[in-house]
């Protein structure tokens, strides 16, 4: 274009024409090339390109958003769950804070203040019915914690009742919920609350603490707020008709013994409060460490407290350590005792069986791929149906077929007995073990090996082998040195495909695998639906996902993502 000469031919037209633009470009030697409308060619091109890109993206966007929402977000959620551990700090916030300074390596139990925090936390948690959830969560880490929490949840109220009884014995005033509301709430709120009708459908007026009393009795007010929030928003009960938790009484005791300036308060209940303040010094107190020991002596064991401390952060590597047979201890990750190791063995078994399945698929698929590629097209297409029909048949159908065939009283054993190959009383155990899984999965995945092998072998010219033979190679040499190396890409593609598919298989091992023939995926399913240890399921899934993505990356390098073929 730069050679285009502007001197040829008379050109009378002025303004934006391609010719003029070219002339302009020529005239301004060092300046950029200009498009017809005067902008530089580069920016004009860029604009057109941008529009094209934008249009392509607009077409892709709906699906991309759809997949991101329905598929990628769930995967991300699973990965998040594999490290997420907020349940401990959410359920026991005060205990977690109190444990922060406790030396977990030492030989001493936490301070009594920590036990007191634990009392408050468990009290609230058991009202919300959250303590059993936390118990089962920590039970994955230390057996026995679940029952410990359940037991503590049942009995923790007794500790508070020690104070509740004493306050109530002192003065009947403390028994009634309405007195508490009058003491702790603002008058405006109290009026609204008393006027509120349960059946009216209107929202319950939210509790408002009285500022004067909040200054005098900070702990009591804070505890009562938690109670009020729970009654109004979680239990959906009428706060005007509820008596406070025993926990509120112990908070009141704490406030009063801490030297609350009750004389500064003059609102409703001031006399009763002053009477109580005078009396608390004579109250029977609760020694929280001993009280917890009375509930269960496990509260005196360092293990429980160490587990609590180790799992108190919001995020934990504990699930991942569990899935490789390790555990989190105060000294960092450590191997589990020999008899508790399971997952590494399971991962090994999954890998091993997937390898065996891939191997048998190569063994069985190679001859079939070869013969399909070398037969005349008509016969090959006919035989191809035999490969494609199982490929297209429902997985459940094929799995049920194998279940039927492999049983002790199934078709294969019956045939073998009828032929006299095995005796009637020593029928082969082909199902509910590794043999069953390997046979059934080899059959199910075989088409995934044959199809890539076939498409690679189809491209190998037969003349190469003939040339090798005419040069004096034996059959074996011609095959091994000439044909086989050319078919290796097919083996690679098929093997990775089969391996990726088999490593994550769930249905077939579940049905024909019994106890010894199951894969890691069955354990994931078990943790999701039976043991409810979702974090561990997520961690196992994350590891499996990493392996599969690694393999898939290899597949992409060898075969290319765009070369995935479906059904020949």
């Amino acid at each position: 274009m730069s050679n285009g000469s502007a001197t040829t031919g008379p050109d009378q037209i002025t303004g934006a024409t391609p010719d003029n633009a070219m002339r302009n470009a020529d005239r301004a030697d060092s300046g950029p090339m200009l498009a017809a409308d005067g902008t530089t060619l580069k920016s004009s091109l860029n604009r057109a390109l941008r529009r094209q890109k934008l249009r392509a993206l607009m077409l892709i966007a709906p699906l991309l958003i759809f997949v991101l929402l329905t598929f990628i977000a769930p995967i991300a959620d699973m990965l998040f769950r594999s490290v997420e551990n907020q349940i401990v700090s959410d359920t026991l916030p005060r205990t977690v804070a109190a444990l922060k300074d406790w030396d977990a390596d030492g030989e001493t139990l936490p301070e009594p203040a920590t036990f007191k925090a634990l009392y408050t936390d468990i009290f609230i948690a058991q009202e919300r019915k959250l303590h059993t959830r936390l118990g089962s969560r920590l039970n994955y880490e230390l057996t026995g914690v679940s029952s410990l929490f359940r037991k503590s949840g049942r009995k923790v109220e007794d500790m508070g009742e020690v104070y509740q009884d004493q306050f109530e014995d002192l003065n009947g005033y403390w028994k009634k919920g309405e007195n508490w509301n009058a003491l702790l709430g603002t008058p405006a709120w109290l009026e609204a609350q008393n006027a509120w009708e349960e059946d009216s459908g209107a929202a319950q007026p939210a509790f408002e603490p009285r500022p004067e009393i909040a200054a005098v009795l900070p702990q009591t007010t804070a505890t009562f707020e938690i109670f009020a929030d729970f009654v109004q928003n979680e239990d959906k009960d009428n706060l005007a008709k509820k008596d406070p938790w025993a926990l509120v009484y112990s908070a009141l005791y704490d406030d009063l013994t801490a030297g609350a300036d009750v004389a500064a308060y003059a609102g409703p209940g001031a006399t009763e409060l002053q009477e109580a303040a005078a009396a608390v010094s004579g109250f029977e107190t609760v020694d929280f460490p001993t009280a917890f020991e009375d509930i269960d002596e496990d509260w005196q064991s360092l293990d429980v407290w160490q587990t609590l401390k180790v799992y108190s952060p919001n995020f934990t590597s504990g699930y991942f350590l569990n899935s490789i047979d390790m555990q989190k201890t105060v000294d960092g990750p450590a191997l589990r005792p020999e008899n508790q190791r399971f997952y590494v063995m399971l991962f090994m078994r999954t890998l091993f069986m997937s390898l065996v399945i891939t191997g048998s698929c190569i063994l069985l698929g190679y001859p079939v791929g070869y013969i399909l590629a070398n037969l005349p097209a008509k016969t090959a297409n006919l035989l191809m149906i035999l490969v494609l029909l199982p490929f297209w048949t429902s997985l459940l159908v094929r799995t049920s077929a194998w279940k039927v065939m492999l049983q002790q009283q199934g078709v294969i054993n019956d045939t073998l007995v009828w032929l006299g190959i095995v005796a009637d009383d020593s029928r082969l155990a082909l199902i509910n073990n590794q043999t069953g899984t390997i046979i059934a999965m080899t059959h199910i995945l075989l088409p995934f090996m044959i199809l890539p092998l076939y498409s690679v072998m189809k491209t190998i010219p037969p003349s190469y082998v003939r040339a090798a033979k005419s040069l004096g190679a034996t059959n074996w040499t011609a095959f091994w040195r000439v044909y086989f190396p050319q078919s290796v890409p097919g083996i690679g593609a098929g093997s990775i495909l089969v391996f990726i598919l088999s490593i994550g298989y769930y249905i077939t091992p579940e049905i024909v695998g019994g106890r010894t023939g199951v894969f890691i995926s069955n354990q994931i399913a078990y943790h999701i639906s039976s043991s409810l240890n979702w974090g561990l399921a997520a961690a196992l899934g994350a590891i499996l996902l990493a392996v599969v993505l690694g393999l898939y990356w290899t597949y992409d390098k060898i075969v290319g993502i765009d070369n995935v073929k479906l059904g020949g």
């Binding site: 094209q52 890109k53 249009r55 392509a56 993206l57 077409l59 892709i60 709906p62 699906l63 991309l64 759809f66 991101l68 329905t70 598929f71 769930p74 991300a76 699973m78 069985l364 001859p367 079939v368 070869y370 035999l386 490969v387 029909l389 199982p390 297209w392 048949t393 429902s394 997985l395 459940l396 159908v397 049920s400 077929a401 279940k403 039927v404 065939m405 009283q409 199934g410 078709v411 032929l419 059959h443 059959n475 990726i500 490593i503 298989y505 769930y506 249905i507 579940e510 049905i511 995926s521 994931i524 399913a525 999701i528 639906s529 979702w534 499996l544 996902l545 993502i561 479906l566 059904g567």
Partner: protein, 392 residues
């Protein structure tokens, strides 16, 4: 294939021993089944060797003698073990008749290269027998399920009545159970309600995106492709786990919508792959020509582009449909009892109350997949024809 090698008759000393050896092998099985291995081997070898000799050297007319062997062995079978044995005997007879003449006339040589040594010829046929066995392995499970679904008993194996071809051994009661049992009908209804909607979603979004992906300049093409294909790569159990966690967070777990969305996500890669594959051969000058003649983008799409890529879209849709219709892992977690699909019902059936109704369902599903396979194959051919017609 036409004959490669001129053939000639082989000597008696070659084919009679070979047929006798095959007879010994057959006799081995028959003998063991009847209780006397050695007798079976000997009798099989002598009988088959003699038959081979008689039909090739004495009777000589091929057609008549082969039928004769079939009838003879069928009668022997019938005397030994009734109707099923008669059929097996007939099959043996057909095989040995064919085998004797195949060897005697030297026909086995006709279709292999003339320079092969006998050892190579032997390997050639052994290899074919091995491949045949593998293909039989591939197809047997499907073939076994079909007759078993007509079993009159609640067994998962062939009853003596079935082997005797006694009509009483067969019945349609498992099919009847499938069509009358409320559980199965509910499952079928659920499958029929879920799969088409999921397919529609994946085809709609997928086709648009595939067209977008096939434009010449797409930024982050590889990354986008990887994300869109990922539902096919990630093991189902992981997808199921993730969806279970996430959908229960947002209240979709256990709902019809949740299952449909999950299945649509799983079907999308298939639509993307098939439609982009069709678009690779699409000639973009056609849309330019349409635009040149005044068609708007929408008209161009529906009148020019759509008819040409329709085969790809439909086969992608079929893949998506099959994916949803066959899917069990994800629905097991994302769905609740109200979304129990056919595969789910089969899965629980296999795991808990084993009922032969499963086999009837399996047979019906095989019939459906054969029909779908045929449709996809026809579409593929049509697509190739259409693309062959388009210029460029």
């Amino acid at each position: 294939m036409t004959a490669l090698t001129p053939i000639s008759r082989t000597p008696v000393s070659f084919y009679v021993p070979v047929v006798a050896a095959a007879g010994a092998l057959a006799g081995l099985f028959v003998g063991t089944a009847q209780g006397s291995t050695i007798l079976g081997v000997l009798l099989g070898a002598i009988l088959m060797g003699a038959i081979a000799f008689v039909i090739t050297q004495i009777i000589k007319t091929e057609k008549a003698s082969r039928w004769g062997v079939v009838v003879l062995l069928a009668i022997v079978g019938f005397l030994l073990g009734g109707l099923p044995a008669a059929i097996i005997g007939g099959l043996f007879g057909w095989f040995f008749g064919w085998f004797s003449f195949w060897l005697y006339e030297g026909r086995y040589r006709a279709r292999v290269a003339p320079y092969l040594t006998p050892g190579q010829v032997l390997w050639h046929f052994t290899f074919r027998v091995i491949c045949g066995a593998i293909l039989v392995f591939l197809i047997t499970p499907i073939l076994v399920v079909m007759p078993l679904s007509f079993n009159a008993e609640d067994f998962f194996t062939f009853t003596p009545e079935m082997l005797r071809f006694d009509p009483e051994g067969y019945s349609l009661k498992h099919y009847e159970d499938f069509f009358t049992n409320a559980d199965w009908q509910q499952a079928l209804a659920n499958s029929v309600k879920i799969a088409p909607v999921a397919t529609l979603l994946s085809v709609g979004f997928g086709t648009l995106a595939a067209i977008g992906l096939s434009q010449p300049h797409v930024p982050f093409r590889r990354a986008i492709m990887a994300i869109l294909i990922s539902p096919m790569i990630v093991p189902l159990i992981i997808s199921a786990a993730g969806m279970y966690f996430f959908y229960s967070r947002i209240g979709l777990q256990g709902t019809y919508m949740g299952v449909v969305l999950a299945h649509a996500a799983l079907g999308i890669p298939f639509v993307i792959i098939t439609v982009t594959a069709t678009l690779v051969g699409f000639d973009n000058s056609l849309t330019r020509a349409a635009a040149n003649m005044g068609a708007g983008p929408v008209t161009t799409f529906f009148r020019v582009q759509m008819p040409l890529i329709l085969p790809g879209v439909i086969s992608g849709g079929l893949f998506a449909f099959i994916t949803s219709f066959d899917e069990v892992v994800v629905v097991l977690f994302v769905g609740s009892a109200g979304q129990k699909t056919l595969p789910w019902q089969m899965f629980t059936g296999l795991r808990e109350q084993i009922s032969p109704t499963i086999l009837a369902v399996a047979t019906i599903l095989v019939a459906i997949s054969v029909a779908l396979l045929t449709v996809v194959e026809l579409l593929r051919r049509r697509s190739e024809r259409l693309r062959g017609m388009s210029p460029g």
